[in-house]
């Protein structure tokens, strides 16, 4: 029997009777990180990194959580567990599982790029490595984050010179703090949407300090965001909440924005290719550094990536999970294209 198996509820370790990132309610769950496709409601008991705990407590309202530090080990029924930094978002962890000398690592979501905020990814030697491949195609190759933040800061500066508010969309957990910590705050004030500020508050109070931000409330005067940049969740795009920020320019930070089609399709003014997932080269590097002979791919371009790994000499298989990676982000920044085509036809015809 494999040390970890994929069943209808999640990634299961039968020997220790515990699940990793289960998507159905189970008794005992180890959670890699706080994103909603990995940390779900309804588990009898949660275990995660100490920085993930306040996040899932706030998001899911659950209290039955135990925490550990990176590298700290615990055992159950002969199986030894430990968490190791995954570099994806604050508190994100790879789960190392060892039983009778065999080591498996479930890496959750991860990236190798240092983001100047979350604890950088650490390769963990193992026999079997479970990997995501959200961006598992050679077309996905991230530019250094300095280049992207240079673009973001320049865009902000330009908007501020034109008297426009900059609104940038990113996940409230991870992307928002990464953006915040890498912005050039000398350009102007940094403000937040409520969903982002809630997460910031949790992180400030229970994890680590962040740069100061101002929450936009009903009473915030317009002068507060003059020349400023507002961080908002993708779901705020196009809602009435944005109206008072006008005139404004909108941007979205997502790995999908490296494709021209996605940039053009988005309903925002600018797309910045910034991702908290590993790109093609980093996926390959990460896998190599584990020394694993057997690779299991879970979410993303699993079919293609598995075939590639096999050709590289790995034993590779894909498994079905309910993880989504960065998929939902692209859907938030969706298409206006069809409408545009229709309007063009009308215009030309009159």
């Amino acid at each position: 029997m494999p040390l970890l198996e994929f069943n209808s509820k999640g990634i299961y370790c039968q020997q220790a009777d515990v699940y990793i990132d289960p998507w159905r309610p189970v008794d005992r769950a180890i959670i890699t990180h706080g994103h909603s496709d990995h940390a779900r409601w309804g588990m009898g008991h949660y275990l995660c990194h100490k920085h993930t705990a306040p996040i899932i407590r706030a998001r899911l309202g659950v209290t039955n959580i135990d925490t550990v530090e990176y590298g700290e080990t615990w055992s159950k029924n002969g199986v030894t567990f430990s968490l190791h930094p995954a570099g994806h978002v604050i508190g994100s962890a790879q789960v190392r599982v060892e039983y009778r000398g065999e080591v498996w690592v479930a890496s959750g979501d991860y990236k190798l790029q240092h983001d100047n905020f979350s604890t950088p990814f650490e390769p963990v030697r193992c026999n079997v490595f479970i990997t995501e491949c959200t961006f598992g195609l050679p077309i996905y190759q991230w530019q250094p984050q300095e280049v992207i933040f240079n673009d973001i800061n320049n865009w902000w500066l330009e908007n501020s010179e034109q008297g426009k508010t900059s609104v940038i969309f990113g996940y409230s957990l991870g992307k928002a703090q990464r953006i915040l910590q890498n912005l050039d705050e000398s350009i102007g004030p940094i403000l937040t949407h409520g969903a982002i500020e809630n997460m910031n508050k949790v992180i400030r109070e229970e994890c680590c300090p962040l740069k100061p931000t101002t929450l936009i409330t009903r009473d915030t005067p317009k002068s507060a965001w003059a020349g400023g940049l507002v961080i908002a969740p993708p779901s705020a795009a196009g809602t009435a909440w944005m109206n008072k920020l006008k005139p404004l320019s909108t941007g979205i930070a997502s790995g999908w924005m490296s494709l021209r089609g996605a940039r053009r399709r988005r309903a925002v003014d600018r797309g910045f290719a910034l991702s908290d997932h590993a790109d093609w080269n980093d996926l390959n590097t990460a896998i190599k550094e584990t020394g694993a002979e057997c690779i299991i791919t879970t979410h993303g371009y699993t079919g293609t990536f598995t075939r590639w790994l096999r050709e590289q000499g790995y034993k590779a298989n894909e498994e079905h999970t309910e993880f989504e990676g960065e998929l939902s982000e692209i859907n938030e920044a969706a298409t206006k294209e069809a409408d545009e085509v229709a309007t063009e036809k009308e215009e030309g015809k009159e």
């Binding site: 996905y140 494709l259 399709r265 600018r270 969706a334 298409t335 545009e340 229709a342």
Partner: protein, 532 residues
């Protein structure tokens, strides 16, 4: 090249015309004259021919990226664009000064006559020394497929802002068969052309939509009625022995419609006609799509002229014998127009008049409107007999009274991923209607849903897939959509036996269970009623 790639990115990044114009003006301010000339050429669809076969580019791309062909093909499938696929995955080193646009245009055109091995070396060198966006532009140029989402009109507007030369004069100067090899920026753009006054169009008068029927317009005898033709609004100018055609977008499209060149011998010099550019063959109007395909082509070939010939259905005359007659009431202009068109008939069969619809009461006209579809017209135009030819969209004298689209409620059974630019979303759907308890597919449609709905439908599709075949998924037959269409025809090529014109999604009927969707019989009834 860096500056031009930046311009491309800026144009590509926005749908706002103001921003596009600003970006272009900045480019004109910064680029040297010879680069400006090339930029104008490339943005006017005067792109060089393909210099490398795409099969070779594909092979070299996979090789440069160090990946097997199948993986290259998969990646290409996701990106949907060969030039971009390679730009994204070939390793390159960004060089600060990568050379001017003119340098690269010479580089690319210089490859044309070389053997494949030498071409390969030059292409690989180029890839290695350009940034992602430059590489993309380079690939588009060697593939002969460089395109930018920018109308000629906007390019002219930007150039006008930059040079302080009037837009219509510039549009005229940029017309014709010039290439960067036989002119200079100075000669083409800056120096005056004696003919440009002759080409100057009048602003179009635009109609308002009549929402609630013509009763509000008063007495029927005060109005002319015509069919509203499904083509492109155009103005044909014959002055100084030359013909100039402008489209409604105030774009000079003379080269696109050589059929009208015959007008210079058929109507008196100093004539300006307002009418509809309409695809027309064997005495019958052709569907708008035919015209759309034709406009999309870079060159007007013999085949296009045979397959999709156009006529001008003239409905107004703005200048006669060199005189601006727009202030005359339309009854008088119409009389002149009739004379001009009938005299032209000896010389050309490409000029027709838009016939008046006879009617005495609004009821009669309403009945005629219902027959619009049979004539491939979109409804009725109403024009006040005493009105002059006004400027722009002014309420009161011209009205369009369109027919309502036909609709049917259908069940979504397949969904296809958008190619390329829509690769991550399921945007194209196939619809079916019931026939003896089975679902028969009858049409595809993609446009019509809002952003939010597209997302919602996309998620639903991903969660309710029965089977995947390549980019297509069959889905649970659950979702009902109202499909609107402009016409219907019998078709032997379709399983359902019918084909729709301009099908589109009108709305998502989340209120309707699939069992209550329409039947094939309903479609057949519509076919009997409106088919043709």
């Amino acid at each position: 090249m860096k500056r031009f790639a930046q311009l491309f990115t800026e144009l590509d990044q926005t749908t706002k015309t103001l921003k596009k114009v600003e970006a272009l003006v900045r480019y004109f301010e910064e680029a040297p004259d010879e680069d400006k000339l090339w930029a104008i050429a490339l943005l006017s669809d005067k792109r060089p021919r393909r210099t490398v076969r795409s099969a070779l580019v594909r092979e070299w791309g996979a090789q440069a990226a160090g990946i097997p062909k199948w993986l290259f093909a998969e990646s290409y499938g996701v990106v949907g664009d060969l030039g971009e696929t390679i730009a994204l995955m070939v390793p390159g080193e960004e060089i600060a000064n990568s050379g001017s646009l003119t340098y690269w245009m010479d580089y690319i055109r210089g490859m044309e006559k070389l053997d494949d091995t030498t071409k390969h070396e030059l292409v690989a060198d180029a890839w290695g020394s350009l940034s992602v966006m430059e590489r993309f532009v380079f690939n588009k140029l060697i593939g002969g497929s460089f395109r930018v989402g920018l109308s000629q009109k906007l390019m002219v507007r930007a150039l006008a802002q930059y040079t302080n030369i009037e837009e219509n004069a510039l549009a005229h100067r940029l017309m014709g068969k010039w290439t960067p090899d036989n002119t200079t920026y100075q000669k083409l753009v800056v120096e005056e052309d004696l003919n440009e006054d002759a080409s100057r169009p009048y602003p179009f008068y635009l109609a308002y939509a009549l929402e609630n029927g013509p009763a509000v317009l008063g007495e029927p005898e005060e109005w002319f009625a015509e069919h509203k033709w499904d083509g492109i609004r155009g103005q044909v100018i014959v002055r100084n022995g030359q013909v100039f055609t402008w489209s409604r977008g105030e774009e000079l499209v003379t080269d696109k419609f050589p059929e009208y060149l015959a007008f210079k011998d058929a109507v008196p010099d100093g004539t300006v006609l307002d009418g509809e550019i309409l695809p027309f063959k064997d005495g019958k109007a052709l569907p708008f799509q035919v015209l759309q395909t034709r406009i999309g082509r870079k060159n007007v070939t013999k085949k296009i002229l045979t397959d999709a010939p156009v006529v001008l259905i003239a409905y107004d005359i703005l200048e006669y014998q060199g005189e601006d007659i727009r202030e005359m009431p339309i009854v008088e202009r119409r009389a002149i127009l009739e004379k001009v068109v009938s005299e032209a008939a000896m010389k050309t069969d490409r000029l027709l008049i838009s016939d008046l619809v006879e009617f005495n009461t609004w009821e009669e006209l309403a009945n005629e409107r219902l027959r619009s579809r049979e004539q491939l017209s979109e409804g009725i135009m109403l024009k006040r007999k005493t009105a002059p030819y006004r400027v722009g969209r002014r309420k009161g004298d011209w009205w369009k009274w369109k027919v309502d689209a036909l609709t049917i409620d259908a069940v979504m059974i397949y969904a296809m991923r958008g190619s390329g630019r829509r690769a991550n979303l399921y945007t194209d759907y196939t619809f079916a209607v019931w026939d003896n308890g089975a679902l028969v597919p009858f049409t595809k449609a993609y446009s019509g849903l809002t952003d939010a709905e597209i997302n919602q439908v996309d998620r639903w599709i991903k969660a309710n897939t029965i089977e995947k075949f390549g980019p297509v998924r069959s889905v649970q037959p659950v979702q009902v959509f109202e499909i609107a269409f402009e016409g219907i025809q019998a078709s032997t090529r379709h399983k359902s036996g019918i084909a729709l014109r301009f099908p589109r999604i009108n709305r998502w009927r989340q209120d309707k269970p699939a069992t209550e969707a329409d039947t094939l019989q309903t479609l057949q009834e519509i076919l009997r009623g409106y088919g043709g």
